[in-house]
Amino acid sequence: MLASATGVAAGETGGNAVDTFLAGVKPEFVPAWAVPLTAIAIGVGIAIALVSVVAMFSVWLERKVAGHIQCRYGPMRVGWHGWLQPIADGVKLLLKEDLVPLGADRVLYVLAPSIVLASVLAAMAAYPLAPGFYFADVDLGIFFILAMTSTTTIGVVMAGWSSNSKWSLYGSMREAAQVIAYEIPLGISLLVPIMVAGSFDLIEVSRDQAGFFGLNWYIWPWVNPFMLPAFVLFFIAILAETKRAPFDLPEAESELVAGFMTEYSGIRWSFFFMEEYAAMFLYSAVGAFFFFGGFESPLTWGAAKAFGDHSVAYQAAAATTLIVKSFAGVFLMMWLRWTLPRVRIDQVMTLGYKYLTPLSLLCVLGAGLWEVFLAPHLSWRNG
């Protein structure tokens, strides 16, 4: 199952596409060490832009989805069907007064939203936009993403503690409890596709699922029948991880006012929002990589056949595929949020520890047995 681990567009230097490009056009007077630094700066810029654009689009999408589910239109005034609304909101948030409540732990209060946003930006670094376009080719890509996204919890707990508000404290304590409970099934359920792929590298996993019309996607029962339950567990776990309904207890607006971000306003408040939407996007992308073929789709398949693996058309098709798949996941999460009531904290804990964790372990066991004893004898798995 293991293919060679080199990135398609990665150059001899082992850097990424930007690195390779910069090395080629570097003028004489620029020292060689400036090249990776510039590449990093560009990468960070792209990651920030990506997070912002994803967050803005998701905010617009959420309001539209909510509106249409609830028999109304959502934003309609600013731009065509309100598509400029997030920009107007962003300007408003930037211009708002930066309030720090009396008695707040000022340092932590100011630091918390930055930590939250920085962790999701860091996770974005391991997220490949296309098979040949990524910021960092991390062998343990998925581990890095999971580690970085769980760091947001620290920021959330800091925010709740430093706000000097009891509601915020409740919110952050719930967040801590919830994330600890759901990290386990999240990680374990991802072991199932990782076992099938034999790799932690996102691009690698995606390439393994290439094939005629997406028939090799891991989600199909003929690849491994334990994949579908693993995906369901994974999806429930990411709902809890991203604090989305029905697991939106940390911010539960009817119980805790706004939970850990009750006291925040202006641009700091929007950092929490950006993190939430970026994390939703990122987790959906992880789901797409490990269950739904990653870059692979009929579109990519056609582009690869017509223009070849190294063509720009293929890369563009792959990027489009991934973005569409990720937003499909985001849409599903929005759909659930505007349909379901919220569960209670003890129910969240019960679900996490008593059901999801054992079930995910069972899935791993079953998938492992399948991989060891059956998969080698299946003709379509070894083609």
Binding site: A66, I69, Q70, C71, R72, K166, W167, Y170, A245, P246, D248, L249, A252, E253, S254, E255, L256, V257, W338, T339, L340, P341, R342, V343, R344, I345, D346, Q347
Partner: protein, 396 residues
């Protein structure tokens, strides 16, 4: 915190449900829920004492919306007080108008034209539907489901449009007057009410499917805030709070007023009762169930009136300035939230010398303090929501 009225073992049993959360004790925390909190349905403040996520006590503080309604009743003329009645239970203004008008009518001994009685019943029942829609919708909101709330607003909007057509106002109607109703229904209004009934029955099923039997909703409300029948009687609960505990008492049947005796005899409606279907008898789910079922019963009453209504006068012949004979009268009617009583005393003048209101929300609120200990913070929200209080009426 007050002394509990019912037995101690009962309370211990309820706390025992949450024993697994009580084994690690830390310092209690006092949290102010309100006056600006999304779940207190207005400006009520509940001082919650909490041990982590578990409430150990709660004390409601009222009065943020106090507007001296009763005192005003003793200072303005009989007819002038009517618009003030709109404003205490603003979600069921028609019922408030009806209660006050009936109290004054009882004192004066006016006979109301039959068509006026019909229109009054239709309006009161439609308003009951609207009020229960808000109650159930916001309850869903408290539990975390946003969308059903807006679906219910959609139907309530139509109900308000109907009222707008008949009296020009959408929330504070002052339509039911002493002696009848303000004016006759405009042409086509009754047939539109019939259309509303048809559509509503269809949509009602949606709410049941989407929220009432939703697994998460049931998990959040069943066995929460259990009011045993004896306790419900102890606290003098009325309305869906009482019937949710399985006690079969509805003023429309048991102390009939207006046309309700006739409608009940015709078998046009039933009194839904909590049965403990999804949990213990008298839990939050049962109270919601009673409200949801009552909507359909109200539709049946409206349909009966639509079938029986005949042309005729809509207001009795009463003078512009009322002089109410000496005496006193109490009239209790079945408001969407319970028994709304008006007690008026007249010395024969143009102004009441006493105008007392018995508000169902205020009385029902008393049980809150009793239900909270042992509940989680999230349950506390569910319990407050299930009492369906309107702060305008608790404070008056």
């Amino acid at each position: 915190m007050s002394t509990p009225l019912h037995t101690e073992p009962d309370r211990a049993a309820r706390q025992g449900e949450r024993e697994f959360l009580l084994d690690v004790r830390t310092q209690d925390m006092e949290v102010n829920m309100g006056p600006q909190h999304p779940a207190t349905h207005g400006v009520m403040r509940i001082l919650v004492r909490a041990d982590g996520e578990v409430c150990t006590g709660a004390q409601p503080h009222l009065g943020y919306l106090h507007r001296c309604a009763e005192k005003i009743g003793e200072n303005v003329e009989w007819l002038q007080y009517l618009p003030y009645t709109d404003r205490y239970d603003y979600l069921a203004a028609m019922n408030n108008n009806l209660g006050y008008s009936m109290a004054v009518e009882k004192l004066m001994g006016i006979e109301i034209p039959r068509r006026a009685l019909m229109i009054r019943t239709i309006c009161a029942e439609l308003n009951r539907i609207g009020s229960h829609l808000i109650a159930f919708g916001t309850y869903g909101l408290d539990i975390g489901a946003f969308t059903p709330f807006l679906y219910m607003f959609r139907e309530r909007e139509w109900m308000m449009a109907l009222f707008e057509k008949i009296c020009g106002a959408r929330l504070t109607y002052s339509y039911i007057r002493i002696g009848g109703v303000f004016n006759d229904a405009p042409p086509g209004w009754l047939s539109e009410v019939e259309r509303f009934c048809d559509v509503f029955e269809e949509k009602w099923q949606e709410y049941v499917d989407l929220l009432m039997v939703n697994h998460i909703f049931v998990q959040r409300t069943a066995n929460i805030g259990v009011i045993p029948p004896a306790m419900a009687l102890d606290f003098g609960l009325t309305g869906p709070m009482l019937r949710g505990s399985g006690i079969d008492f509805d003023l429309r049947r048991d102390m009939p007023y207006e046309l309700y005796a006739e409608i009940w005899k015709a078998g046009a409606f039933q009194i839904p009762l909590g049965k403990g279907e999804r949990g213990q008898l008298g839990d939050c789910w049962d109270r919601s169930y009673v409200r949801v079922m009552e909507m359909i019963e109200s539709i049946k009453i409206v349909r009966w009136c639509l079938g029986a209504i005949e042309p005729g006068p809509v207001i009795a012949d009463i003078p512009k300035t009322l002089r109410v004979p000496n005496g006193e009268a109490y009239v209790g009617i079945e408001n969407p939230r319970g028994e709304l009583g008006h007690y008026v005393v007249s010395d024969g003048g143009k102004v009441a010398i006493r105008c007392r209101v018995r508000g169902p929300s205020f009385t029902n609120l008393a049980v809150l303090e009793e239900l909270m200990p042992g509940a989680l913070i999230a349950d506390a929200i569910a319990i407050i929501g299930s009492t369906d209080i309107v702060v305008g009426e608790t404070d008056r």
